[in-house]
């Protein structure tokens, strides 16, 4: 059966035509809306590489039924800085060497933004817990935690 509906992604209304009812938001973003920032690895909620915001909550887009996400505010990594410049989190990931193959990076960047928006001064344990749904095969996480620490320090300095 074919579906026609509208999703609001990064503040823009996007028409989705002729999609199968069971398509995930991850699939629709990547294959139908030309937004390949969210990555698909496991499609079962385990890896976090597909993390997006739906109505402000960081969720796995592979587990969201796209056709049920009408009337929701969807935000993807492409929408963080619409002009294409890097956010402070992305910049810190690059500078601290937290990107190797880069497959996990968009999901982690979303998770870090989500954490620091809610909790600007998280403890190490809070950082680890907040990122426990994002798997990285390459870095061993040390560089990722270093990038998070760098953002925290930078924002603290900027606030002074």
């Amino acid at each position: 059966m074919n579906e026609h509906y509208t999703l609001r992604v990064n503040g823009v209304e996007r028409d989705v035509c002729d999609s199968w009812i069971g398509e995930s938001l991850l699939y629709v973003l990547r294959e139908r809306l030309d937004l390949p920032g969210a990555k698909g690895a496991c499609e079962q909620g385990e890896c976090g590489s597909c993390t997006v915001f739906v109505d402000g909550a960081a969720v796995c887009s592979c587990l969201v039924l796209a056709a049920s996400a009408v009337d929701a505010e969807i935000a993807t990594v492409e929408g963080l800085n619409p002009d294409g410049t890097l956010t402070d989190v992305q910049e810190a990931f690059v500078r601290e060497g937290a990107v190797q193959c880069g497959f996990c990076t968009p999901g982690l960047v979303m998770a870090v933004h989500h954490l620091l928006d809610a909790e600007p001064e998280p403890s190490d344990l809070q950082v680890k817990e907040a990122l426990s749904g994002n798997i990285c095969r390459c870095t061993g996480y040390g560089r990722i935690f270093a990038a998070v620490d760098a953002v925290i320090a930078r924002r603290r300095d900027a606030a002074r």
């Binding site: 995930s24 499609e43 385990e46 993390t51 796995c60 039924l65 009337d71 929701a72 749904g133």
Partner: protein
Amino acid sequence: MPVLIPRSLDVAVEMASSHPDAHILAGGTDLMVEVNFNHRKPETVLALRHVDELRGWTIDAATRTVHIGSAVPFSEMEHGALSEALPALAEAARTVGSPQIRAAGTIGGNLGTCSPAGDSLPVLAAMEATVHLRSTSGERAMPFAEFMTGPKRNARRGDEIITGVSMPIADGWQGYAKVGVRNAMVISVASACLALQSTGPRLALGSVGPVIIRCHDAEALVADRPGAVDAALAAEFGRLAAAASSPIDDHRSTAAYRRHAVSVLAGRLLQRGTARP
């Protein structure tokens, strides 16, 4: 129209009755895995995300009762007033999957799936929670112990929507403990909830039987013994918990290890709950 998106509970109930074949969708963290892997090919989906009546919870101080709507996600149980009213539920919620899973996954979905490993379920069993269901023929309420009838089986009729659960506010210490292969993102190998309610201690076990198991023998052992618990009593409490369990070997663990793990968890919870600060 194959994806039904009701905006009120009344409409949702009507839709569930006129589309008994529809798959009910809450957070999607169980259902979408099955869809992604082609284990299910839904023709019709009834999505509950816009049914506000199911998304709230209340704490009634007069009747000392907590009511949690079925579409409340685990992330809301981890902090705040709900976690103070039901500390064991907060602990259980915090062990579910990852932050992304807890932001989407709901207590109604945990009940709908009714896996013996569902982390909220031992808490509902220990607190003798009531499960609320609604259809066009009216409301039904039943104790959780009657609702869960087997592994991934429950007493919900096809036209019924789970509207929520209610249970007493904790009036004594309570805790939840779980064993898995790692700390995050893990389905339990064995779990236990101990609630030291004023009406008596209640112990419930997860992942060690076809349903959540209440341990009346272990409860009776400590019923009239206020005060600190020594190691021997904790060990006996654990032994009775293991004796009540009926675990199996599967891809996650063995029956022997589960029996051992659940005895340790039960004993540990008892010692934690009775330790004087």
